[in-house]
Homo-oligomer: 341 residues x 2
DNA sequence: TGACGTTTTTTTATCGCTAAAGATTGAGGG
DNA sequence: CCCTCAATCTTTAGCGATAAAAAAACGTCA
């Protein structure tokens, strides 16, 4: 069923049918009603390819994201889809697995598919590909704190401030030897976390020994890291894990070695999820407003696409604040908050 | 940059450029090389819309899935993307949240976007929409055990057999009062599980009291369900949760009420994930070959699309077997397997 | 009545590509 | 030397929509 057939059946020209779809106000009421009824009767929707070929746009936005396995990313996806869906945009979805080449391939594909805009999460593109995009003037929003082009719009959670507050919390609880686990694959987030930790260390009067170790961001990574620390007899008093999954692994390794949490080791995680509150001890973690992050990014992108940018043409960033959920794993068992909200 | 411009630059006709892309064997070696070099130089890829408009196909497959929040679904997505990517298909992705209307909308959209095939996970469509698709003869594969059309190709994990083995395991450990938590939103899986449980109950010589309760498939759902059981003083000896998330919630509720797992209550989950092995006690769970499921479904779909079906035109199902991972939560602490592989 | 402006509709070029049909080329055979 | 045939290339008609330009319809007023 195509527009031509509908036009015949309705006894009008193709242009009229097209106008019923795209500029209904420029069609006489009577004609419009009639055409609409025929369209409905034959269940007609305009061919999307033909339409996009003409308009050079696809009513689609691309979402390039490292993966879907963490709660943080899932929430972002959910937020983006919610807003995009409401505004009648489809979401084309690319999993980059943190590989710049894969990301670049996706960008090429998205450009070829004439997406109206791109949201990139923790982008790893470097100058060259980015330059390409800059020339295209394709609206885009980055989720993450890495500005690759000066004109980029950024949208991120203030991990630095969160890490600062978490570290201060650990110091307040009396921990003097603190260590952070970081994942090289996500160097950007790590950098922010370090900045925050260092700020907390500087601000305190006490002398704190701080160190860090590389660990894969997964249950297994956390487990192996703590196992290594035990073997090398370099266990800290408090450990900051990069994610709740990593923290869960760390917890298991500690338990296997009869190290009590929080008595012998305080443990905190830079990301939160439903399981954190249910572990024993419940895991103190940073609650990131990840769904709101996705929603905000989508909104900003669509604003750019539709030219309804609230602040004229000046690039602007949006910074959301995380929330420290203090639970049991750092030693503060006095005041434990409700475990689900 | 378009095909016409490339043709000019290479000094050939548009048809030749098109043939270099689509039927390279029908172009003289010399010409082909030359055109390819020009294409490369100007970084040309054929406009996807124009191409698809002609071919009435998009080199895209649709994946309709209830959500992305569980490990099971994530693995399926990963498996589908892996196989599809290798065969140069893009994956268009729709989250149905278990709403039939939303699923039907997606199907409409996918049809309009001329996807070459559809993979539906736990489809909830009923007769009418399905009939529509049947008329279209669009290749499709269902993941899940619900055959909506007689011609459907199915692909699923044998939950029934897994549930049977899990129940037998619980009976062997001496549990006489068994209960299962199920989620109405996923009635199909529940049915299979019940069939398996009943089979195990029938096969045993002992007398077992079995019951079931409705609980949302989430951490919170599991927590609330067990809380309810405690209040109504109807706690069983062994509890089968619909998922690991639900089991985690159940665990928390039990702990809060000073019910010891596994001594006072055996707990097992019908899905496995990385956290299960790391909980304390480690959770006995059914390991579903979910990534392989996704890969198999994608392979079957692409076989259908490309007409390379190994078994001529006879619809056939693929049934994968799950694996019972016996850990600590059911009372068998003698032989605990390695917690990650 | 007819000139004029406004509203509504039709005609037609166009988007970029593919493939069928037609044209060109050169080799081989009578 | 001409004919045939295969290999290779070009011309051109769509694919299904949109929108600009042209045409028709209609009301207003001198």
């Amino acid at each position: 069923m195509n527009i031509k057939r509908i036009a015949e059946l309705a006894g009008v020209s193709v242009a009229t049918v097209s106008r019923v779809v795209n500029h209904p106000e420029r069609v006489r009421d009577e004609t419009r009603e009639h055409v609409l009824s025929v369209m409905q009767q034959y269940n007609f929707t305009p061919n999307w390819f033909a339409r996009s070929l003409n308009l050079e746009s696809s009513n689609t936005i691309a979402l390039l994201i490292p993966g879907i396995e963490t709660d943080f990313f899932q929430q972002i996806i959910s937020g983006v889809e919610t807003v995009a869906g409401n505004k009648e945009y489809a979401v084309l979805f690319g999993q980059t697995n943190n590989y710049p080449t894969r990301e670049a391939e996706f960008v090429d594909m998205m450009i070829n598919r004439k997406v109206d805009g791109i949201i990139q999460v923790n982008s790893r593109l470097n100058g060259e590909e980015t330059l390409l995009m800059q020339n295209l003037e394709l609206p885009r929003v980055h989720i993450g704190k890495n500005r690759v082009c000066t004109s980029d719009t950024l949208c991120y959670v203030d991990i630095e401030e969160g890490a600062r507050r978490m570290t201060r919390h650990l110091i307040e609880l009396g921990h003097k030897i603190i260590m952070a686990l970081f994942d090289e694959a996500n160097s950007n987030t790590s950098e922010q976390a370090f900045a925050g930790i260092n700020r907390a260390l500087r601000d305190t009067g006490h002398t704190i020994i701080f160190s860090s170790a590389q660990a894969e961001n997964s249950v297994r990574g956390g487990y192996l890291a703590v196992q290594r620390l035990i073997q090398s007899k370099s266990m800290p008093e408090a450990l900051i894990a990069a994610s709740d999954l990593q923290a869960i692994g760390a917890m298991k390794a500690a338990r296997d070695a009869h190290i009590n949490i929080p008595d012998d080791l305080a443990l905190a995680s830079l990301t939160d999820s439903a399981v954190c509150s249910v572990l024993s001890p419940a895991l103190t973690a940073l609650e990131l407003p990840s769904k709101r992050l996705g929603m905000a990014a989508a909104r900003m992108l669509i604003d750019q696409i539709e030219g309804t940018l609230p602040y004229v043409d000046m690039p602007h960033d949006l910074i959301l604040q995380p929330k420290l959920k203090i639970r049991e794993s750092c030693g503060n068992t006095q005041d434990i908050y409700e475990w689900f909200d």
